[in-house]
């Protein structure tokens, strides 16, 4: 079953100089798939993520999530839709300093006015799964970057979203923390069957996906599927990036 369908999607930013950020994008993500979006800076991958995550409206085309068009909803319904159907993981975590880790995680549920017992049960389950039980009572500034991203993933996962959107989730992390976070996302994808869409610069992060789609100059250029070996997939991603991204091929010969 197709969870996300993107048909003929285009985005134009009006202004003195009209910018065509995306043009005629067609993309389908199946239920339970883990898809990475890659591309050079300015290729339009963040724009695509913003359109899929309903925080920006498309100029042409449509986005269907679970067969529903979120742009047909009213603002209030849209907020509820985001809360229930979508999970977000950001580069800079977007956790609230004023709240503890536990409070940050249950925030989407409290906004939905769920019963306290349900929230506590879900919190316990997700904290065990993500291994953050010990830090639940801590403040955001007391924990490390990797722990923050885990807390953010827990917050995204707790309502049980149909689609998890991750925008450069490893962008602020060191390589060890990055690996741990990606393994966690991969694990969630396997065990819970949550559909995921990841936007990243980082080939290592992207190599955890089932499939990577490349964008260049606002258009889809190609896609590669992961085979059995993550290592080989990683190499293929690097080659593709150097092929797409201008000077990068000079580096590729050194790397390969």
């Amino acid at each position: 079953m197709d969870l996300l369908q993107v048909r003929g999607l285009g985005k134009v930013y009006p202004g003195k100089i009209v910018t065509r950020a995306l043009h005629d994008i067609h993309l389908t993500i199946e239920q339970g798939e883990f898809v990475g979006i890659m591309g050079p800076s300015g290729s339009g991958k963040t724009t695509l993520l913003n359109l899929v995550s309903t925080i920006d409206a498309p100029s042409t085309g449509e986005v269907l999530i679970n067969g529903k068009n979120p742009f047909a909803l009213k603002r209030k319904e849209l907020a509820a839709f985001r809360r229930r159907e979508l999970g977000f993981v950001f580069q800079d975590f977007n956790l609230l300093d004023t709240l503890t880790v536990a409070e940050n995680i249950v925030l989407p549920l409290t906004l939905d006015r769920r019963p306290l017992r349900e929230m506590e049960k879900k919190l316990e389950r997700i904290a065990d799964k993500l291994g953050i039980r010990d830090i639940l009572g801590k403040r955001i500034y007391e924990i490390s970057g990797g722990q923050r991203q885990r807390a953010a993933i827990a917050r995204a996962m707790i309502p049980g979203p149909s689609l998890l959107l991750a925008d450069e989730p490893t962008g602020s992390l060191d390589s060890n923390a990055s690996r741990a976070v990606m393994e966690l996302l991969e694990g969630i994808n396997r065990s819970e069957g949550t559909t995921m869409m990841l936007v990243s610069h980082d080939p290592l992060a992207a190599s955890y996906c089932d499939r990577v789609v490349f964008i260049k100059d606002g258009m889809l250029s190609s896609e590669i599927h992961r085979g059995d070996s993550r290592q080989a997939f990683f190499q293929k991603i690097i080659e593709m990036l150097s092929f797409l991204g201008g000077n990068a091929h000079e580096l590729s010969s050194i790397r390969v």
Partner: protein
């Protein structure tokens, strides 16, 4: 681009960040200037009344200056804090601390100069209105508009010095910060606010001590009032820094309450903000309390004097001390009244002043039934329609201002102080109109035979026990409410009282003339200066506390924008954002008003008897209500502007 241009561009292109700072400075200049204009007004410096007004206004001027100083200081420091990142970038780019100091100095001086100019210009417009208002309030007519060179120079010099001093002073803020701290700026993670049981208890203790001191009522001395003020202010400080944070912590304990809707967001935000803003809320509360109290006192005095006027149906009162002068005096008054064609009636009254034993000696006035009924009939009131036995008395008292020490004596048998000897039972008490007799508070009515017996007991040489008056009933002056200061009654009685005073001095008579219109006008005029100064200071405190809050909010706007932007991505609806942030703003705006309303109520009701304020509930409610209305207006404006800013980041 020269350095000066850079400074100018910084101000010009970052208008929103500077505008609150600029507007509030300009506002302060405007008020200060308008006041100064009034002080230096050539029409005021003359009269005795004008001199009094000027002294009051000068004190107000000092208060405004101190307040502007604190205000601008606070504005600059929070403004610089918000811009620390910018200074960090400049430092990294190689700007020396001298360069940055010069930049800040120049910017401050540009804003200072502009606000002085704008403040003077708007002050000129306002002063026309202000002079009209001031003239009508202080009862002086025709203050013309004039070119206030003196006031202009005074204001300009005062504020330029203030900005100069503050510009130098703020450089100290910047100097000690390291580049890294500057760059991370306000995005530095906030620390959990700390509370200590000891300090919280101290806060509660101080407030309780203040109340206990004030509870001494009429026995309170100057020292106790000062001590109560100090402990009250200290208690208020700890209330915000400790007790309030503590209360919110307790509120956070219950997950059922906290983990519900937007409570999670605003309650924990609030715990931080209340600590951040505690000092400011404290200042706003103290200022508002002072303003509320002064307005409350003014209103109660105003009500009291109006009541005193309305409670006396007799326009003129001649206290008779010498019977032989009486005929001459009555003739003189008649002549004066006839000249203006004013018909009148007179009634002669008489009371005995003594004390009754009731634990302590309590002062009383005694009247005969016939005498009281004569007075009541003339005044058009119901007479006391009952027989009073020889050994009983009826206690009449004013319902507005009941004499507490006498009311308890109902049903008791009391005896009078020597040389009088009479023992009687106070058979009943009833509220009644006293027509100015008995100090307007209480009167004991005896039957005629008992009264005459007492009168005969008074020794010849101690006729001071007996008080006798001639009261003038003048129908033409009957009215609802109180007369204006230009009213014929006021004009006539003021003249009569003044002339009688001359006659007393010249030895022409020994009888003393007083009139309700004259006393009303006198108190009213003395009060009007107080009203004028008090209301204006109150208005200034109210408006500047609102701009304090406005400024505070705007320095936090960027942080809030970031927060609501990311929250809106994870599905915070517009309505929820409005609720959560609107509630926080509302708490900041209305908590000080609520607290100062309570403080005003407590202080004035405890001190009411000491200052003879009468019933204070209504005046306190009116003054607090007025501040509440003003604050609600600012709140509506600030909230809508703030929401527009936040709405933009909602996706």
């Amino acid at each position: 681009m020269s350095f000066l241009q850079f400074a100018f561009n910084n101000v010009g292109r970052n208008a929103r960040a500077y505008i609150a700072y600029f507007l509030s400075s300009a506002f302060m200049v405007m008020i200060f200037f308008t006041y100064a204009m009034f002080i230096f007004h050539p029409g005021i410096t003359g009269s005795e009344m004008g001199r009094m007004t000027r002294v009051g206004m000068q004190v107000a001027e000092y208060i405004i200056f101190v307040f502007s100083f604190l205000f601008v200081l606070y504005s600059i420091s929070s403004f610089l804090k918000a811009r620390s990142k910018e200074f960090g970038i400049l430092t990294i780019l190689g700007a020396t601390s001298g360069t940055i100091n010069r930049l800040i100095f120049l910017e401050n001086m540009i804003i200072g100069l502009l606000s002085v100019i704008v403040g003077l210009a708007s002050g000129m417009l306002l002063s026309k209105l202000f002079l009209l208002l001031g003239a009508s309030v202080t009862g002086m007519n025709g203050l013309p508009f004039y070119m206030p060179w003196k006031a202009m120079i005074f204001t300009t010099v005062a504020f330029l010095l203030l900005f100069l001093f503050l510009s130098v002073f703020t450089l100290i803020f910047i100097r000690k910060n390291r580049v890294l701290e500057l760059l991370s700026g306000s995005s530095k993670p906030k620390k959990e606010p700390k509370t200590s049981w000891l300090l919280a208890l101290l806060g509660v203790g101080l407030l309780a001590a203040s109340v206990m001191l004030l509870q001494r009522g009429s026995k309170i001395g100057e020292k106790e009032v000062m001590l109560a003020a100090v402990t009250g202010v200290g208690g208020t400080y700890f209330f915000y820094t400790q007790v309030a944070v503590f209360l919110i912590k307790v509120a956070k304990r219950s997950k059922r309450m906290l983990w519900r809707g937007t409570n999670l967001i605003w309650v924990s935000e609030m715990a931080y903000k209340i600590k951040d803003n505690a000092r400011m809320l404290f200042m706003v509360t103290v200022a508002t309390s002072l303003a509320c109290m002064s307005v409350g006192v003014i209103l109660s005095i105003n009500t009291q004097i109006a009541k005193l006027y309305a409670g006396d149906p007799f326009a003129i009162n001649l206290s008779v001390y010498n019977e032989s002068d009486l005929k001459k005096d009555l003739g003189w008054i008649e002549g004066q009244l006839n000249k203006e064609d004013i018909p009148y009636e007179t009634v002669r009254t008489e009371t005995i002043q003594s004390s009754v034993s009731g634990g302590n000696w309590v002062y009383v006035e005694l009247a005969s039934l016939t005498n009281y009924n004569k007075l009541a009939e003339k005044a058009g009131a119901a007479p006391l329609d009952q027989e009073i036995p020889q050994d009983q008395g009826v206690l009449l008292y004013s319902a507005d201002d009941p004499p507490k020490d006498l009311l308890g004596l109902e049903g008791e048998t009391v005896s009078l102080e020597s040389p009088l000897s009479h023992t009687f039972k106070i058979s009943e008490k009833r509220p009644a109109r006293l027509f100015g007799a008995g100090g307007g508070k209480s009167l004991i009515v005896l039957n005629d035979a008992a009264y005459d017996k007492l009168k005969r007991q008074i020794p010849e040489d101690e006729s001071g026990w007996l008080s006798s008056d001639v009261r003038f009933l003048i129908k033409a002056w009957d009215r609802q409410g109180v007369p204006s200061l230009q009213d014929p009654e006021v004009a006539m009685t003021v003249r009569l009282v003044a002339e009688n005073r001359e006659r007393l001095d010249d030895g022409e008579t020994k009888n003393y003339l007083s009139a309700r219109g004259d006393s009303y006008a006198n108190t009213k005029q003395g009060l009007s200066m107080f009203i004028f100064v008090g209301v204006f200071i109150a208005a200034i405190f109210s408006i500047s506390s609102a701009s304090f809050l406005y400024f505070k909010l705007y320095s936090e706007l960027n942080q809030d924008r970031r927060m609501y932007h990311s929250l809106s991505k994870i599905g915070l609806a517009d309505r929820e954002m409005k609720f959560a942030s609107g509630l926080q703003i509302a708490l900041l705006f209305f908590v000080p008003i609520l607290i100062s309303g309570i403080q005003t109520m407590v202080v004035l009701s405890l001190l009411g008897s000491a200052f003879n304020l009468g019933e204070v509930t209504v005046p306190v409610l009116v003054s607090t209500g007025t501040f509440l209305a003003a604050q609600a207006l600012y709140y509506a404006v600030v909230r809508s502007r703030y929401m527009i800013q936040l709405k933009r980041v909602m996706v």
